[in-house]
Amino acid sequence: MPKRLPEDPRLRGLIAAQMSRRNVLMGAGGLTLAGLLAACGTGGTGTSTNTGSAGGLAPAEDLSDQEKVVNWANWTLYLDYDDSTQKYPSLEAFSKQSGIQAKYSEDIDGNDTYFGKIQGQLAAGQDIGQDIITLTDWMAARLIRLGYTQELDHANIPNAANLLETLKNVDFDPGRKNSLTWQSGYAGIAWNKEAVPGGLKTVGDLWKPELKGRVEVLDEMRDTMGLLMMENGVDISGSWGANEYDAALEVLQKQISSGQIRQVKGNSYKEDLISGDALAVICWSGDITQLNFEEGDKWEFAIPEAGGTLWSDNLMVPIGSPHKKNAEALMDYYYDPVNAATAAAYVNFICPVEGAKEAMEKIDPELVDNPLIFPTEEDLARVSVFRSLDADEETDFSDRFQQTIGN
């Protein structure tokens, strides 16, 4: 069961008591500064309303029947796009077929930054202007736990039955009540083929002396730490704890201090691969395909021997969205195997829809055997999903990860 703060009556009572004491003091004018500060600050994080309120957040009234629109926030390069018409063909087809006007925006450039942007409004139950948001597993877990998403009505999404069996029961959303997978991918290792002719097999190979100062790892905690923990023999989907985490963090600390790791980076590691500053990296599978396509076949990606991470991005309806039914219609549309294959042919990530592989035969036969879109059983057996963390773990782990990478 997801832990939702307002469901704990003791805690709720405690916070409510705190709040009212403060209000009384403020009313008496006893703490003018505190009063002024609190008045200014409520808008600052917008969280006090939520923690102080008696129940959870209520979903917005669904106006889908009156307003035939759906707004979808996604990452860049994540839906089939036609350069010549500057439109998204599959989305156009959806609008034509359903009569629902779909507005697509590439608003999301990072889970953390997007959360920072929308949290205040979500905590107050407000409409953020998006009816579907697309976020990675752990952030989806956080939003669902916080009660920031609406429960989906699977009767409106019959095609959701096509979701791959392995993704149907994720630990952060059993039964997929609040989310559906958009695309998935791996984190693994990659290297410059010319500079590292022998290639790399394990994460430990990144610490070879000849790569000193030319290695970069991801600033996405779950991917970098996940690979490091697997290298230590930990099953990252299992019930590991702080000890296993600390052991991996120590490895990271050591490699940063010694200068073996040049930088810890987000998406921009790609530029360093191109410039040659980075010769070996912990990275995302899709990026390397794309780089090889753009810059000539210079790099090779591999899932490390000890295993790689598997992540997914998930479609969710935010709590304040007044167009849930329209959003569900759109999800249903992309869970149709043909439409799923159309999108997958463009984005080159793992397609989560059963039957899309067969549909791909007609769209682009060459891609049917691409293991980065339709993974082999072997590959899937070698990757794991980083287990969901509870709120305290998440804060503690990301705090110490940030400190280790110098922030």
Binding site: L11, G41, R142, D277, T395
Partner: protein
């Protein structure tokens, strides 16, 4: 407006300074002008109130929020949790000091590069309008492209396989495994480069008004070029220097783009990066706010001391 007042409206500047000669009409006129001034600053005042003063209070309030037991990520309640400051300063004083250190070096470097540039354009080339225009455009031109793109370009220029590093290696100025990017040196260079125009332009604006006859007078009195510079040009240009150093130092101390792109994860982290990571990654809004507030106060204090020590009355 009375005839008398109209006549008084444009008194000779020197006369106004001789306070003893003031008539009562002049005093009234001055008061009226004073009131007029208040009206003129009203829009600016309202703007600052809305977009600076209120956010600062919000920041201060957030910096004192507390996390109730069992709260989920991003859930804080209003409180007076001064421990946030202790906690942040205890953990991040090195980054704070480093930020000021880097900003100080970058400011000094920008002054060393920017002053001669401004001097050349404003004084030496005073009568070469075309050359002057071209050089000014060259200083301003970098603003036409994005800050991040320019820093990114630096990364490519200074890359391990790039031209600069290979030349330095050839002349053994850099060991074979040495590098320029991902070092503190690169971060300071990036800061210097990115804020150079903020240094050069105020100094230029100041030197442009410098009366060259004063330099000639210095020569006539047998002062060497350096003495003339030290005793005439430099003191007269101090307002420009002060403005330039402030415009460079303040944003440089809070900058995080340069450190993020050109630095590493060991010894180049600046306080702006920490604020970013506390706010977005760790979702520690109070901590991030406390650090921002400390940064603001520290800069304010440093600027105050600096302007008190070296400043001219025109700035305070």
């Amino acid at each position: 407006m009375s005839v008398q007042a109209a006549a008084d409206k444009t008194p000779a500047p020197d006369k106004r300074r001789g306070g003893s000669e003031r008539g009562s009409g002049e005093l009234k006129e001055e008061r009226r002008r004073g009131r007029m001034g208040y009206w003129l600053i009203l829009p600016g005042f309202l703007f600052l109130l809305l977009f600076f003063v209120l956010p600062v209070f919000s920041l201060l309030a957030t910096s004192l929020y507390a996390k109730p037991p069992g709260a989920d990520i991003g859930q804080f309640v209003p409180a007076l949790e001064f421990n946030n400051y202790v906690r942040m300063l205890g953990s991040y004083w090195p980054e704070l000091l480093r930020s000021f250190g880097f900003a100080l070096i970058a400011t000094a470097a920008a002054l060393a590069i920017g002053y001669p540039m401004a001097y050349l354009i404003a004084v030496r080339l005073r009568h070469h309008a075309l050359l002057r225009g071209i050089l000014l455009v060259l200083i301003i031109a970098p603003f036409f492209t994005s800050f991040i793109l320019r820093t990114q370009a630096w990364k490519q220029i200074l890359a391990d396989e790039g031209p600069v590093v290979s030349v330095l290696r050839t002349f053994a100025l850099l060991p074979d495994d040495g590098r320029l990017t991902a070092t503190a040196f690169a971060v300071v260079c990036g800061l210097t480069y990115n804020f150079l125009p903020f240094m050069a332009l105020p100094i230029y604006a100041n030197l442009e008004r410098l009366d060259i006859r004063l330099i000639e007078a210095g020569n006539d009195l047998y002062a060497s070029g350096f003495t003339t510079f030290r005793t005439v040009t430099l003191p007269l240009s101090m307002p420009g220097v002060i403005a330039g150093t402030l415009l460079t130092f303040i944003p440089a101390a809070g900058d995080y783009i340069n450190a993020a792109l050109l630095g590493n994860n060991r010894d180049t982290t600046m306080i702006g990066q920490v604020v970013d990571s506390r706010f977005f990654r760790v979702v520690d809004y109070p901590g991030a706010s406390a650090l921002s507030f400390v940064l603001m106060l520290a800069i304010l204090a440093l600027v105050f001391i600096y302007v008190r020590r070296f400043g001219t009355k025109e700035l305070l």
